[in-house]
C-alpha cells in the first residue's frame, strides 16, 4: 500500500503542476475576492474565514478527476483491482496521496493568504488547525466522487456536481471554527465535529469507493 502512495506522490512531483496549480488557483481566487467585494479591511476581515475555506475547497476540487482517470485509461486500475492489494486500501491511499499533494500545501499556504484578507490575528491558529483536520475529508469525499465518474468521458463537471453537496458539512464546520476563533469564541465544538466528519469519511468511504471502482471496472 505504501508503494502505491509513493508512486502517486512521485508521479505528482514528476508530472509537475500537481502541487503548483492548485496553490496558484487558491491564490488567484483569494486575490480576486477583494476586487469583487471592495477593499475595506473590516469587511474583508469578516469574510476571510469563509473565503479561505471556500477557496481551498475549490482548489482541492480541481485535481480530483485525475485521481483515478489516468490509472483507468492506461489500464493500471484493472491491474490493481486484480492484485493482492485490497481496493479499499488503494482508495484510502489515493485519497491520502491527493491530500498530501493538495490539502497539505493549501493548509500551509492559507495563513499567508489570510494576511492578504486581513484575517483576525486570533484566527490564524484555528485556520491552520481546521484546514489540517478538514482537508483530508475533502480528499476522501473527492476520491469517492472520482470513482463514481471514472468511466465517463466528460466526468469533470458531473464530478463537481456530485462532490460539492457532499462538501457542505465539512465546509460549515471548518469555516465556523475559524469564524469563532476570529470572534474570540470557543471553536472546540466545531473542530470536534469537523474531526468526527473526517474520521467518519475515512472509515466509510474507502469501502464505498472500492465498491464503485469494482462496478466501473466490470
Amino acid at each position: 500500500m505504501i508503494a502505491l502512495l509513493l508512486r502517486d506522490l512521485r508521479l505528482a512531483v514528476r508530472a509537475g503542476g500537481g502541487f503548483g496549480l492548485g496553490l496558484a488557483f487558491f491564490l488567484i481566487v483569494v486575490v480576486l475576492v477583494p476586487f469583487g467585494v471592495g477593499p475595506e479591511t473590516e469587511l474583508l476581515s469578516r469574510i476571510a474565514p469563509g473565503i479561505l475555506w471556500v477557496a481551498s475547497l475549490l482548489a482541492a476540487l480541481l485535481s480530483l478527476d485525475r485521481i483515478f482517470a489516468l490509472d483507468f485509461e492506461d489500464g493500471s486500475l484493472a491491474l490493481l483491482a486484480t492484485s493482492p492489494l485490497p481496493l479499499e486500501g488503494a482508495a484510502f491511499m489515493k485519497a491520502l496521496a491527493h491530500w498530501i499533494t493538495t490539502g497539505l500545501p493549501l493548509t500551509i499556504a492559507a495563513p499567508m493568504l489570510g494576511f492578504l484578507l486581513s484575517l483576525a490575528p486570533e484566527a490564524y491558529f484555528y485556520l491552520l488547525v481546521s484546514l489540517l483536520i478538514g482537508t483530508p475529508a475533502l480528499s476522501m469525499i473527492g476520491t469517492f466522487g472520482a470513482a463514481l465518474t471514472v468511466g465517463l468521458r466528460r466526468g469533470g463537471l458531473l464530478l463537481s456536481l456530485l462532490v460539492l453537496p457532499l462538501y457542505v458539512p465539512t465546509l460549515i464546520f471548518g469555516a465556523e471554527a475559524v469564524r469563532r476563533g476570529a470572534d474570540g469564541l470557543d471553536p472546540t465544538g466545531a473542530l470536534v465535529l469537523l474531526g468526527g466528519i473526517t474520521a467518519g469519511t475515512f472509515a466509510l468511504l474507502p469501502f464505498a469507493t472500492a465498491a464503485t471502482l469494482r462496478i466501473n471496472l466490470r
Partner: protein, 242 residues
Amino acid sequence: MSMWEYANPKLFMGWTRPVLPWTFGLAAACLVIGLVWGFFFTPDDFRQGSTVKIIYLHVPSALMAINAWIMMLVASIIWVVRRHHVSALAARAAAPVGLVMTLIALFTGGIWGQPMWGTYWAWDPRLTSFLILFLFYLGYIALWEAIEDPDTAADLTSVLCMVGSIFAILSRYAVLFWNQGLHQGATLSLDKEENISDVFWFPLLVCIAGFVLLFIALVLMRTRTEIRARRIRALEARARRA
C-alpha cells in the same frame, strides 16, 4: 408466492395497468377536495391572514420531497441486495418527481415567507437544507443520465444515494449548528400536541393524502415508462446479435 415476484418487470406491468388510473383518480379527488376545502372553506389565521392557506401546497410538497428521497434510498438498497430491476428503475423514476416537489416546497415557501418574514429567501436551516436536498437530487439525476450501461448506472446511483443520504443527514445537523433560523416549528409532528387547529388540520390531511397518491401515481407511471425503455433496449440488443 412471495411479495418480491410482483417486482418482476412483466408482472409489474400487469398489475400496475389497472391500478394506475385509480391512483390518479383518487389523487385528483383528494387534491381537489383538500385544496378547495382549504382555500375557500377555512377561516383566515388570526396572525397570518389568508397567507396561511399556502400551507396546503407547502407542507405536503415538503413532506413528499423528503419521502421521495427516502423511497429512493429504500429502492436503492433493495436493488443492491436483491437485484430487482424494477426497484432500481423506480428509484430512477422517483428522482425527478422528488426534485419537482423540492422546487414546489422552495417556491411556495418563498411566497409564504415574503409577507411573514419580509423576505423570499433567508439562509434559515430548513430552507438551506431543502436547497441542499435539491442539489442532491440534481447530482443523482445527472449521474443516471451520464452512464450508458443501465446496470452500471443503477449500481452507481444506488451507492451515491446511500452515501448521499448519510451526508444529507449530516448537512441537516451541520446547518442547524450554523444558523438557528426563523422558520416556525414543524407543522406536523408525532410527539407533540398539534400546533395547528383542527379547522386547518383536516383539509391539510386530505391534501397530504392527495400528494402521496399523486407521487405514487407519477412514480408508477414513470417506472412503467422506464421498463418499456429498458425493454426496447434489450430487444434492440437481441436484434443486433441475431
